[in-house]
C-alpha cells in the first residue's frame, strides 16, 4: 500500500521535475521577455553536450553540470546582444530567427561532433520501496526543480536586479529614464533563461541518449507549461507544472504513455480555453 502510494508520488515528482526544469528558462525568455524562443531545446542540448564533454575530460559531475549551465548562459547573452536585441518589437521575426538558430545548432553539432556523443553514468544508487526499486538520481532532479523555482522567485522578487528586470520588461523607456541599464538587464535576463535551459540539459544528461536533435524532446513540454502558467511566470509556472504533472502522471499510470501524451495536450487546450490568461492570470484575479 505504502509502496504504491510512494510510487504514485515518485511518478508525479518525476513528471513535475521534467516540466519545471524544461520550462524554467523558457518562462523567463518567453513568459517575461516575450521572445518565442524556438532554440530553447538547443540551449538544453548545449548544456547536455558541454556537461558530457567536461565530465569526460575528468571533472566531477556537479562541476561539469555547472559548466553546462554557464556556457549555455554565456552563449545566450552573446546571441541576445548580437541577434535577438533588434527583434523585441518584432515577435514573428524573433520566432523565425530563433528557429534558424536551432537549425544551425543541431546541424552544426551533427557536422562537428558526429551523430552521437558518449553518455554519462547516472550517479547515485537505486533504492527500494516494497516491490519497487527507484533511481535516487530522479529524486535529485525533483529537488533541483524545487530549487530552480525558488531561485527564480527570489531572484526576480527579492533582489534589486529582479525589480529592475521586471520594471524593464513592463516599461523599458520609463525604467531607462530612472537609470536602469536596459541593455544590460535584457542581456542578463536572456542569459539567465538560456542558462536555466542549459541547467536542465546538464541535469538530464546522465539519463539520456545524447544526439544533436535531443533538445526537441523537451520543447513541447516547455512551451505547454509556460503557456498554461500564463503571463506572470513567477506565479504561474509552479501551479501549471503541478496540474499538468498530475494529469500526465495519472494518465500514464492508468492508460499508458500514448494516452498520457494525448491527455496532456487535451488538458492544455481545455485550460487555456477556460483560463485564457493561464494560471497566473486566474490567481491574480482571485487575489486582487
Amino acid at each position: 500500500m505504502f509502496a504504491d502510494l510512494f510510487s504514485d508520488f515518485y511518478q508525479f515528482a518525476d513528471v513535475f521535475a521534467f516540466l519545471i526544469l524544461s520550462a524554467a528558462g523558457l518562462a523567463i525568455i518567453f513568459g517575461m521577455m516575450g521572445v518565442i524562443n524556438l532554440a530553447h531545446g538547443e540551449f538544453i542540448m548545449c548544456g547536455v553536450y558541454v556537461t558530457s564533454a567536461v565530465y569526460h575530460a575528468g571533472l566531477p559531475l556537479p562541476l561539469a553540470q555547472a559548466c553546462g549551465a554557464i556556457v549555455a548562459g554565456l552563449i545566450g547573452m552573446l546571441l541576445e546582444v548580437t541577434i535577438i536585441r533588434p527583434l523585441y518589437s518584432r515577435p514573428l521575426d524573433s520566432l523565425l530567427v530563433t528557429w534558424g538558430i536551432s537549425l544551425v545548432a543541431t546541424q552544426g553539432t551533427l557536422i562537428a561532433l558526429g551523430s552521437t556523443f558518449p553518455g554519462i553514468d547516472t550517479p547515485g544508487h537505486s533504492f527500494s520501496v516494497g516491490e519497487y526499486s527507484f533511481s535516487s538520481y530522479r529524486m535529485v532532479l525533483f529537488a533541483a526543480s524545487l530549487c530552480v523555482l525558488g531561485f527564480v522567485y527570489v531572484l526576480f522578487m527579492r533582489t534589486r536586479f529582479g525589480v529592475h528586470a521586471r520594471a524593464t520588461m513592463q516599461n523599458p523607456g520609463m525604467a531607462q529614464a530612472l537609470g536602469v541599464r536596459k541593455g544590460f538587464i535584457y542581456a542578463l535576463s536572456f542569459g539567465i533563461g538560456t542558462g536555466l535551459a542549459g541547467l536542465c540539459g546538464a541535469l538530464y544528461a546522465p539519463t539520456m541518449n545524447l544526439i544533436p536533435t535531443m533538445g526537441a524532446s523537451f520543447l513541447v513540454e516547455a512551451f505547454v507549461t509556460v503557456v498554461v502558467g500564463g503571463a506572470n511566470v513567477l506565479l504561474g509556472t509552479g501551479p501549471a507544472a503541478i496540474a499538468l504533472g498530475a494529469i500526465r502522471a495519472g494518465l500514464n499510470a492508468w492508460y499508458g504513455q500514448v494516452v498520457g501524451e494525448i491527455g496532456l495536450l487535451i488538458a492544455v487546450v481545455l485550460i487555456i480555453r477556460v483560463l485564457p490568461d493561464g494560471f497566473s492570470g486566474w490567481l491574480t484575479r482571485r487575489t486582487s
Binding site: S7, Y10, Q11, D14, V15, F18, T106, Q107, L110, G114, S115, T116, F117, P118, G119, I120, D121, T122, G124, H125, S126, S128, E131, Y132, S133, F134, S135, Y137, R138, P206, T207, M208, N209, L210, I211, P212, T213, M214, A216, S217, A249, N252, A253, G256, Q257, V258, G260, E261
Partner: protein, 412 residues
C-alpha cells in the same frame, strides 16, 4: 488486317535503329543508382553508416570495372527522416533522374511511403533494413533480416533460458505494433505469456512509469522494440532504477550500437539475433571491417544497416551480370532460379524467389557488464520462409501487399 500489319512493320523499322543506337550508347553510359538515406535529423545515427556502406561498395565495384563494364553513379538525397520528403525525392529519382535502381529508407513508415511510387514504375527497389517482414512486392528486394530470422530464433531461446513471462516495450508505429504482434504469435505455441505490453509515442524520453509498470508485472524478460534516440533513454533510466531483467530485441546493439553510446553496464543483459554486428570476427568479416575502417576511420560502429547497404550493391551487381541486363523483368528471371546469391562478409546469402527476401547467417549475441558483445549461439543460415509459407509467391503473382500474422494472404 493486312494493311495494319504492314503499317506496324513500317513503323517498326526506324524504331529498330533508335533502339540500336541506344544500346550502343548504353554500354558507355553510367548506371544511375538513387539512394535515399537520412543523414540529418533524428535518424542520422543510422543513416550515416548506411550512406558510408553504399559509398564503400560503389567505390570498390567501380574500381574493379563497374557493373557490366559500366561505372556506377550514386545519387544520394537526404530526406531528413521526413516521409513526405521521402515521397518527393523518390518521385524525383524515378521520374526525373530515371535511376536504374532505388535503394534506401530507414523506418518501415518511410518504406511504405515510397513503395507505391516505386510500384508505378518499372524500377527495382532494394530495402536494406531488418524489419517486421511481410512485404510481398515484385518491385522490392529486401536484404535485411526478417522475423523468422531474428525472432523465431531469439524468442524461443529467451523463453527457454529466462522464462515464459514477457513484457513488451514498443514504439507506437507500424514497426513496433507489427513486431509486438510477431512476439505474441511466436510466444503462443511456446506457452509464453505477454504480462504487459506498452506502446510509447516516438520522441518520448522519460520512462519512470514504464519502469514501475514492469516491476509490478514481474516479467522474466523484456521484449524491447523501442525506437530512436529519445526512446533509447529507457536503458540508462532502467539501469539507474536497478531494473535487472534480461532483455531481448531485434534492433538493439547490431543496429543502434547502444553499447557504444551508453557507459557500461547500461546495456548489460541484452540479447539479440543478428546477421551482422561489428564484433563478428570471421576472416571475411575482418577483411570487410578493415576496408570500411580504412575509408571511414571515424565510424562509431559498422551497424547491420550499413552492412546491408554495402551488400545490396554487390547483390545488384551479381543480378545484373547474371541477367546481362538492368531490366527488372530480366533480373527477376535470375531471382526465380533460386540460386541468386553472393559471398557476403557474413557468409553465402541467397535471394528467395517467392518473397524476394534474403537468407541470412544468424547469430545470437549478448552484452556483458562491460558492454562487451559475445556470440552465444550460431543458428546457421536461415531462409526467409514465412512469406512463402503463408502463400506469397512472386514468381506467380504480385499482390504488392504487406502481410502480418493477423493479415494473411487470401487462401486460394
Amino acid at each position: 488486317m493486312k494493311r495494319r500489319t504492314l503499317l506496324a512493320g513500317a513503323a517498326a523499322l526506324p524504331l529498330f535503329n533508335i533502339v540500336d543506337s541506344e544500346r550502343v550508347r548504353a554500354d558507355t553510359k553510367t548506371i544511375k543508382i538513387g539512394l535515399l538515406e537520412d543523414i540529418s535529423g533524428d535518424l542520422a545515427v543510422f543513416g550515416i553508416p548506411k550512406l558510408h556502406g553504399s559509398q564503400l561498395a560503389v567505390e570498390e565495384i567501380n574500381g574493379k570495372g563497374g557493373i557490366l563494364g559500366r561505372q556506377i553513379e550514386l545519387m544520394h538525397l537526404d530526406p531528413q527522416g521526413d516521409n513526405a520528403r521521402y515521397q518527393e525525392f523518390a518521385r524525383r529519382m524515378l521520374q526525373k533522374e530515371k535511376v536504374d535502381l532505388l535503394i534506401g529508407g530507414i523506418t518501415s513508415a518511410s518504406r511504405e511511403a515510397i513503395r507505391p511510387i516505386v510500384d508505378r514504375t518499372n524500377t527495382l527497389y532494394i530495402y536494406t533494413n531488418q524489419y517486421e517482414g511481410g512485404v510481398c512486392d515484385a518491385s522490392m528486394i529486401s536484404d535485411g533480416a526478417v522475423p523468422e530470422q531474428q525472432l523465431s530464433t531469439l524468442i524461443p531461446w529467451m523463453v527457454e533460458k529466462f522464462g515464459k513471462r514477457v513484457y513488451t516495450v514498443a514504439a507506437d508505429y507500424n514497426f513496433g505494433h507489427l513486431s509486438a504482434e510477431w512476439g505474441r504469435t511466436l510466444l503462443k505455441p511456446l506457452g509464453g505469456q505477454v504480462v504487459g505490453e506498452e506502446f510509447i509515442p516516438l520522441g518520448v524520453s522519460q520512462f519512470a512509469q514504464t519502469i514501475q509498470n514492469i516491476q509490478k508485472a514481474k516479467p522474466d524478460w523484456l521484449y524491447m522494440l523501442n525506437v530512436g534516440a529519445a526512446q533509447n533513454s529507457f536503458f540508462p533510466q532502467a539501469s539507474a532504477a536497478h531494473l535487472d531483467i534480461p532483455m531481448g530485441s531485434p534492433i538493439k546493439i547490431m543496429l543502434g550500437f547502444e553499447h557504444k553510446q551508453f557507459p557500461a553496464p547500461v546495456m548489460a543483459n541484452m540479447y539479440a539475433a543478428a546477421n551482422w554486428f561489428e564484433e563478428l570476427d570471421t576472416p571475411a568479416a575482418e577483411d570487410f571491417k578493415k576496408r570500411w575502417r580504412a575509408k571511414f576511420p571515424k565510424e562509431t560502429y559498422i551497424n547491420d544497416m550499413g552492412y546491408n547497404a554495402y551488400v545490396a550493391l554487390y547483390m545488384y551487381k551479381m543480378l545484373a551480370e547474371r541477367a546481362q541486363s538492368l531490366n527488372k523483368d530480366d533480373i527477376r528471371k535470375v531471382i526465380a532460379k533460386g540460386d541468386a546469391g553472393i559471398d557476403a562478409p557474413e557468409g553465402h546469402i541467397v535471394i528467395d524467389p517467392k518473397s524476394q527476401h534474403t537468407s541470412h547467417h544468424m547469430r545470437l549475441l549478448s552484452v556483458d557488464k562491460e558492454n562487451k558483445v559475445h556470440i552465444v549461439k550460431d543458428f546457421g543460415v536461415i531462409q526467409p520462409y514465412w512469406l512463402g509459407q503463408v502463400g506469397c509467391d512472386l514468381t506467380k503473382s504480385n499482390p504488392k501487399e504487406q502481410y502480418t500474422p493477423d493479415h494473411l494472404p487470401p487462401k486460394r
